[in-house]
Assembly symmetry: C2
Homo-oligomer: 308 residues x 2
């Protein structure tokens, strides 16, 4: 981008959980807009966001707050986005810029098509590759996105000015912005994020249903704790992601299941050479992954925090 | 234990990788024995251990070193234990105390039966629940076991004095000692450690075999890095564990595969209630696991580091 970065007059963040609260805080700390208003359907949550200084104002009515917003950031679970888009259609300015933070992007475009008939030029779906297994307004913090990537999936008719504003928003929040097609986003994130979360949830469930599961968990050490950390993530958010990115997630589960069946056969056959090959190949691939992380020009990939 | 803790005159550590080197260093730092000798079939490794101050002496010949050892700690990959036991039978004192650190314990008892005809009273199989995805003598450190658990799986004929010496060794190294039956150890560790490692190896392999895998890894964030950290573990060690704990590992893989198939069906059916139930149940179980960690009297479980 050349020239001064765009700034917004009034930003409305809808949904003040971990991500929404953190977006608000980051933009407020970065001086991105004249005013950052927060709205949550749980008003106590908006009040708490105001008390914590994450927002300049806490809106009691979504429709009223939408009326004066120049940029709306929708930060609710993936399947709640459509309902907010309905409110945007009813109450927002015609030239409003709309973005979101959902972990599945195809479903957001489908929702927008249903709500608006055609995709609005002001719509710029987005997804910050950052998070935590903690959730809620209390976990929000202004530096959550610093050094992370934000993926935007503009559609063919997205207005350049809208895209520029949302890009500027994420840069202000400290993220590196990448654009890609929504389907590509959903396929990649199903593999790198949604599948690992599903595997971690599954492992913890499988173990907790064993006889003497307390005994089992007692002998689990650091490897297990790190491996299952993401199983402490918010169940509602992940229910929505699994439903919203259903097809890509099913494909990712199938890729994994096939791969696990292959490894199981090598164990069953006591095939030492095959097992060594599988483990060495994974060892090598993860080494290359770490090198890519280090070499990445964007500071994004090198920092910690979850993807979702 | 009452009375002064047993001490050893001369301890021989066979295999100077991460675990063997760390055992030697911990015992040396703790003043456990008159002399800590190290032996590795790669003599350069023994020399390096000596240079790093992990051992008092580096043996060039295993048979010679065995001749004067009072306690032998076998720290080689699981399937290499039997070969060392053969050397012990040939060259060690009749009253030598023998322990090991392998991640599978049934296989060590089987090896000992084959080598000695009957299980020697001096044999105390063991397994410290600590480690790292790093390996080799350079990664060894004397505090690796501090605050961790060491599981011992004595057999019916293990001499009390032998058990007491090995217990004292781990306490000197900073670990909390628990005894259990070898089969129980193998079943538990298959679930809490061997299965998660296999899943992590499988995930990294599955992703690296996708088209545009570099692109895929680029968008993997902190959740993925933590989840796959254990896939950087040593391939030879894990090949041996998979072979050595074959039956328990196959059972653990099957438990997981069934559980994943159930979750897949809920995704395929877009069954929101079932998915929320699964994720909430895992969320809750991991919360209880973290509480157990905190509440555990033994400092062991609360500290970091991998199990293997």
């Amino acid at each position: 981008m050349s020239g001064p970065a765009p700034r917004a007059g009034r930003v409305l963040v809808v949904g003040l959980g971990l991500i929404g609260g953190s977006v608000a805080a980051a933009l407020r700390e970065g001086g991105f807009a004249g005013e950052i208003t927060g709205y949550d359907q749980d008003h106590a949550c908006s009040v708490r966001a105001l008390q914590r200084g994450l927002v300049d104002a806490a809106a009691a009515s979504l429709d009223e707050a939408l009326g004066s917003a120049e940029l709306v950031v929708i930060a609710v679970p993936a399947l709640g986005v459509e309902q907010v888009l309905v409110a945007v259609r009813e109450s927002a300015r015609a030239d409003v810029v709309i973005t979101d933070v959902a972990s599945a992007k195809g479903v957001v475009l489908e929702s927008a098509r249903r709500v608006f008939g055609a995709l609005p030029p002001g719509l710029v779906p987005g997804h910050p590759i950052a998070g935590s297994e903690r959730s809620g307004v209390e976990a929000a913090r202004g530096d959550l996105f610093r050094g992370h990537r934000a993926i935007l999936t503009p559609h063919a008719g997205t207005a350049p000015a809208a895209l520029a504003l949302v890009e500027a928003m994420w840069i202000c929040a400290g993220a590196a912005v990448t654009c890609m097609e929504a389907g590509e986003h959903d396929r990649i994130l199903a593999l790198t994020s949604h599948l690992p979360h599903v595997l971690a949830f599954t492992l913890v469930n499988a173990l907790s249903q064993q006889d003497s599961s307390e005994q089992i968990f007692r002998y689990a050490a650091g490897g297990f704790r790190d491996f299952t950390r993401i199983a402490s993530s918010d169940p509602v958010m992940w229910r929505d992601i699994a439903l919203a990115n259903r097809d890509s997630l099913l494909a990712a589960i199938d890729v994994f299941t096939d791969s696990l069946a292959g490894l199981r056969a090598s164990v069953a056959n006591s095939d030492a050479a095959a097992l060594h090959g599988l483990f060495a190949s994974a060892h090598g691939a993860r080494g290359r992954y770490l090198q890519w992380l280090e070499a990445a020009q964007a500071p994004a990939a090198a920092s910690s925090g979850d993807d979702a």
